[in-house]
Amino acid sequence: MRVRLRLYVSGNAPNSARAIANAKTICIEHFDTRCDLEIIDLLAQPLRALADGIVVTPTLVRLLPLPVQKIVGNLSDTSQVLLALADA
């Protein structure tokens, strides 16, 4: 069961940097090779936020498995993240 994640960040702002690190850690530790993580930098592609409905950064979106799940924040609370990602 592949997990597809997309993380929207804003450059290397503090929250964004932490989110990237946290996301990678969670991926490796909990989903191993089943995890696909894509990182979108909204500072480079600002209009993506409009297209994808992103309000705050960082925002982690689980694209697969459905339904789509959104988690906002720098992902420092790992248990919350896992809970949300576990929701099917």
Binding site: V9, N15, T57, G73, N74, L75, Q80, A84
Partner: protein, 584 residues
């Protein structure tokens, strides 16, 4: 009101909201941030959105609207009541961003607005936007549940705004108690506008107050505002100095005789008060004025708080005034409504909007006093004056009727209109000898000499007329009493005529007698004169006879040439000389 635009070092961006730009001397601070505070339903979103729309429509300035609380669809739908064509503006001038975070969204750790600001910056550049609104920012900040983090984001926005140079408005909901959490916002921004909304006697009263404006003077009072069909506007403050053009032109009152009494009619652009008890034909005079205006081809608006349009037209037709054709042609507009609650600010704002929509040159408000009876709010007391000033500024001639039983000054000053009316006509009833007749008086008319006499106003199928009133023994008579008096006057004149004729004949007789007597005396004089002549003749001939006799006697006695001159002869000669002068 002072001119605040002189007192500032800050460039200002006009909001286009009527009255607001005046009290701030130009609008909101350009390139800076303003905070709009208020409780729910106060009109914060409307204020902000209206500024954006005005900027787009009037100044071709693009704007961004970031909605944190309501959906953008909802905001656009709500705004359709104001007649702003948002969908059209959305295409090229306005960008709406739905920035709501679902309340059940999963949160893990801290977040920020960097991404959103990056998006907004891209959009601002694309549209070349000047203005931006952050509507309901407290909703988003509340999700951070850490005051320090909230403040950090607000400063982030502020710095971003400084970088982009946009003129920003942030709206924030405040509860009835001071909300300490967001009070720091007020210190951070350059301008704070507070909106307030309260319900008194079932009517909504809205106010606006500029609480702070860095770098500029401003009017700090609380101003009443109205939500009209065009949007938000300040309702009570017109120009502080009464400057408007005055005209010498006259407009007909609709009644020829009344025009004559006013030396031509009402002044163009003036306001007229027609007062009187119920049934005294105030509406009729208003109808005459409207008819005359329409006949001249001038757009007219008839506002009625008493009767519906059809009823008014029908009633006027019964006295020969037909407004029907003018209604059909569109020259005449009729607006009938009831007064609603104590907030007459809103109603004057509504009237103002209707006047702007119809663009009349002549206006009737029947009766204006309907609005004065509902005044329970202090601020509404001078709104009638403000409205009339507005009309004067536009050069609209207005006839107001007012329900008044007598000329009692305390009633007349209820709206203060009697003092600001340029012409005041009062209608009353005169009850006399079992009859009720209508009387018309011109109480005052500024800028015109006018007749100060009472006239009788008669209404009939043939129309309306104004007739003279009989003054008899210091009383004014009308109706049947007047007719009776006229008859009596006529009879009295007849009698006088006959009496004087008689007198003339009598004098003629006396004169004839005197002449006759004069004749008699004259005849006597003639007789006496004749006698005197006879006497003189006789005396003269006697004297001559004596002289010739003496001559004969001398000749007979002496035949001498020279008579003997004795003393006796001298005396006799002297006697003869004197005898001529005497008459015995």
């Amino acid at each position: 009101m002072k001119n605040y635009s002189q007192q500032s070092a800050v460039t200002k961006l006009p909001t286009g909201i009527q009255g607001f730009d005046e009290i701030t001397g130009g609008g909101l601070p350009a390139g800076r941030t303003s905070l709009i505070l208020g409780g729910p339903g106060c009109g914060k979103t409307v204020f902000a959105l209206q500024t954006l729309v005005n900027g787009a429509q009037k100044h071709k300035e693009a704007g961004l609207f970031v909605a944190f609380e309501e959906s953008t669809r909802q905001i656009i739908a709500n705004a359709s009541t104001f007649g702003w064509d948002l969908p059209a503006l959305e295409k090229r001038k306005l960008f709406f961003l739905d920035a709501r975070l679902a309340p059940e969204v999963v949160r893990s750790g801290d977040f920020d607005l960097n991404g959103m600001l990056a998006l907004l910056e891209a959009k601002a550049r694309a549209l070349n936007a000047r203005r931006i609104v952050f509507d309901g920012i407290d909703v988003l900040l509340g999700l951070l549940d850490d005051e320090v983090k909230e403040r950090r984001e607000v400063y982030r926005i502020r710095d971003w705004l400084a970088k982009t140079g946009l003129t920003a408005m942030i709206t924030q909901k405040v509860g009835p108690e001071e909300d300490h959490r967001y009070s720091f916002l007020q210190f951070m921004v350059d301008c704070v506008v507070v909106l307030r909304h309260q319900v008194v006697d079932g009517s909504a009263f809205r106010h606006l107050r500029v609480m702070k404006y860095r770098g500029s003077g401003f009017a700090g009072d609380e101003f009443p505002i109205s939500l009209t069909s065009d949007g938000l506007q300040l309702t009570n403050r017109g120009p502080s100095e009464l400057i408007y053009e005055v005209s010498d032109e006259r407009v007909s009152t609709g009644l020829a005789r009344l025009d004559h009494m006013l030396r031509g009619g009402y002044h163009r652009g003036s306001n007229v008060l027609i007062s009187g008890a119920p049934g005294t034909a105030k509406s009729t005079l208003s109808g005459l004025f409207a008819q005359a205006a329409c006949t001249r081809g001038e757009r007219t608006l008839y506002v009625s708080f008493d009767e519906g349009a059809n009823q008014i037209v029908r009633n006027l037709r019964s006295v020969g005034i037909d407004l029907g054709p003018h209604l059909t042609s569109g020259l005449l507009g009729m607006y009938s409504t009831r007064t609603r609650g104590p907030n007459i600010e809103d109603q004057f704002a509504d009237l103002r909007a209707r006047v702007r929509a119809h663009s009349p040159r002549c206006l009737v408000i029947d009766p204006l006093s309907a609005l004065s009876t509902k005044m329970s709010h202090l601020a509404s007391a001078d709104s009638a004056q403000q409205f009339l000033d507005f009309l004067k500024g536009d050069g609209i001639t207005v006839v107001n009727t007012s329900l008044m039983d007598g000329l009692k000054t305390d009633e007349a000053t209820a709206t203060g209109i009697s003092t600001i009316a340029d012409t005041w006509i009062h209608l009353s009833y005169v009850v006399q000898d079992g009859e009720r007749n209508r009387a018309l008086t011109i109480v005052k008319s500024r800028g015109t000499g006018h007749s100060n006499q009472v006239r009788e106003l008669t209404l009939s199928d043939e129309g309306v007329s104004l007739t003279d009133v009989f003054m008899a023994q210091g009383k004014a008579l009308m109706g049947v009493a007047r007719w009776e008096w006229e008859q009596e006057e006529r009879a009295a004149q007849e009698r006088t005529k006959v009496a004087s004729e008689l007198k003339r004949l009598q004098l003629q007789v006396a004169q004839a007698e005197a002449v006759a007597r004069l004749q008699v005396v004259q005849t006597e004089i003639n007789a006496r004169t004749a006698e005197m002549s006879v006497l003189a003749l006789a005396t003269g001939s006697a004297t001559r006879l004596l002289k010739s006799d003496q001559e004969v006697l001398r000749k007979l006695r002496h035949g001498d040439a020279e008579p003997v001159k004795t003393r006796m002869a001298v005396k006799a000669a002297r006697r003869r000389r004197n005898g001529h002068a005497k008459t015995h």
